[in-house]
């Protein structure tokens, strides 16, 4: 089949690779209904993360099960499924604690920017719908797999509640999904930090009540002003740089909570600053599996439309243009038809 391979930074190709096969009796093979490019795919693409030989890219997926290993019990060929980018067994203590992204057997999905993909730990990872959903819901269900699940986790980790005042740091696809999640969780005020008109529009559409275009000290001053000097109850840190963490710490109130989902790059936190600032923090790779049934249900009922985050659709053959468009921030998130 033709699939996406990153050979070295900047060199991404759609090329012939071997079809995926069942390797373990707990595997499933799915035919993808669509795939997409993640902001985190840009780290190796930009050379900011090592590339040790050709990488099969793609970890967001939904589609039809075509084959299962001998031990798979929970899904069967013909079913439409969504899975998390973190593969998990589900009965281990970490999974039962709701942290499937730290599963004792955790693997990270790869090779999903392709027509077919192998999903390890299928029973623990995949959630099937009752029926094959209509095609127009595929973008929304695909979003659940990572970008929405991660934005949702940011809001969950940041303890967004009915009536909360929330700041979202980062206007990438995950940040925008964080806005949607905060609104679904009943936040009263959702302040999106964004400097880009198209992202500001989408943030408003997803539920942002205020937009702050300023950054750094000016951004902090604007948010203090909007919150009568108090700061935010919950901050969603959706970037992962030292600057974005600094912003998140500065705009959260004492006793407020920061949920962080951008992999921290060169971030070091000063103990005394956290201590005297009284910031509660939780982050990590999102345990999307915990949220999958609920989020799929919200999509199937038409309550949320996270697929709006895809603002560019390309055929898989044009995946290189998709990476370029995201790298140059011409696109928020690219969906690939496979």
């Amino acid at each position: 089949m033709l699939a996406t391979v990153l050979h070295k930074p900047g060199d991404i190709r759609c090329e012939e690779v071997a079809d995926p096969k069942i390797l373990h009796p707990t595997d499933a093979i799915i035919k993808l209904s669509a795939s997409c490019i993640c902001g985190s795919d840009l780290w190796p693409y930009r050379g900011l993360q090592p590339v040790d030989g050709p990488m099969h890219m793609g970890h967001e997926y939904c589609g039809i099960v075509v084959e299962v290993g001998a031990e798979v019990r929970n899904v069967r060929p013909g079913q439409f499924v969504v899975g998390s980018f973190c593969l998990s067994d589900n009965p281990c203590p970490h999974c039962r604690f709701g942290f499937q992204s730290s599963c004792a057997q955790r693997e990270f999905m790869s090779g999903a920017q392709a027509p077919y993909a192998r999903v390890a730990l299928a029973d623990g990872t995949l959630v099937a719908t009752a029926e094959v959903p209509p095609a127009e819901l595929v973008p929304d269900l695909l979003a659940v797999s990572d970008v929405l699940g991660t934005g949702w986790y940011a809001a969950d980790a940041a303890e967004v509640r009915q009536g909360s005042t929330v700041v979202v740091v980062g206007d990438g696809a995950v940040g925008l999904m964080g806005v949607l999640a905060a609104r679904e969780m009943g936040a009263e005020r959702i302040i999106a930090m964004s400097r880009h008109a198209s992202r500001q529009r989408l943030a408003r559409e997803f539920g942002a009540t205020d937009i702050v275009a300023e950054r750094g000290e000016e951004g902090v001053a604007r948010i203090k002003d909007l919150t009568r000097g108090v700061g935010a109850d919950s901050v969603l840190e959706c970037v992962g740089t030292a600057e974005s963490f600094d912003q998140a710490l500065a705009v959260s109130r004492p006793g407020g909570t920061i949920g962080y989902v951008g992999v921290p790059h060169d971030v070091s936190l000063d103990g005394q600053r956290l201590f005297f600032g009284q910031k509660r923090m939780l982050g990590g790779p999102a345990p999307v599996r915990r949220f999958l049934p609920d989020l799929m249900d919200r999509v199937l009922k038409g309550r949320i439309k996270p697929g709006k985050v895809f603002d560019l659709q390309l055929p898989l053959a044009d995946v290189a243009e998709g990476y370029r468009a995201m790298d140059e921030r011409r696109a928020i998130k690219v969906m690939l038809s496979v």
Copy 2:
């Protein structure tokens, strides 16, 4: 009056100072029923925190109100009161959010190792008992003011619940109070890390189910072993050094919570370690005011005996010996009769 003054590191004296006076209409003057020495008093005593001129020491207190300023409404002369080491107004947004230790008007108490002391923001800070309690409860009520309140906050911030598995890092007075708090909150397993026989005994008396004397990698291995490889749901970090934070991070499970109450000294936390470890964290100066009514009630009902943490009692005149005994770890915590 004779009171405690730190002139320079190691030079602590009981000497004549001016009697405290009402300086603001929101002040109260109390006659202390007893006072004590805090582990944090040792930082300047040891020269690990700057001493800019003579410091009036002591921030833990309970006693009888003898005078109030013109605007004080909630307490009156003759009442027995306990207050927090953080002075707070109580109606500001941070106080209402339960973080009185970040009160917009916050001051830190000082000058309580003395027969009389001024308490600023008396209405927001002090909680009176219905009657003057019997003398034998004074050590317990004094402990509420900081050492118990801080240990309690460590357990609260670490989200200890019914059935939790808890590790307490640090066998100082605060750590021991953390053990007591975890037991009161219903923890099923409380593992105290302690190398000192007398502190181990007290930890068991306060509710520890297991003692781990090992530290570093061996300590981590022992706790992993005791928790079937999972780690602790909640960790109370009651020291504040890089080593103790390292220990706390290493023994908590993914999705577990670290409550930290030791002021961090030279502690820097790596973003990726927190992220991939999925550690929830909250710390800071304890908002003891939030817990005062409940903790005083538990003491008055005889449910808890936190005063047992005082293992040396001295007259105020011998305060220098008290500091030496705590500095040399001959005493866990020293009570001063004033």
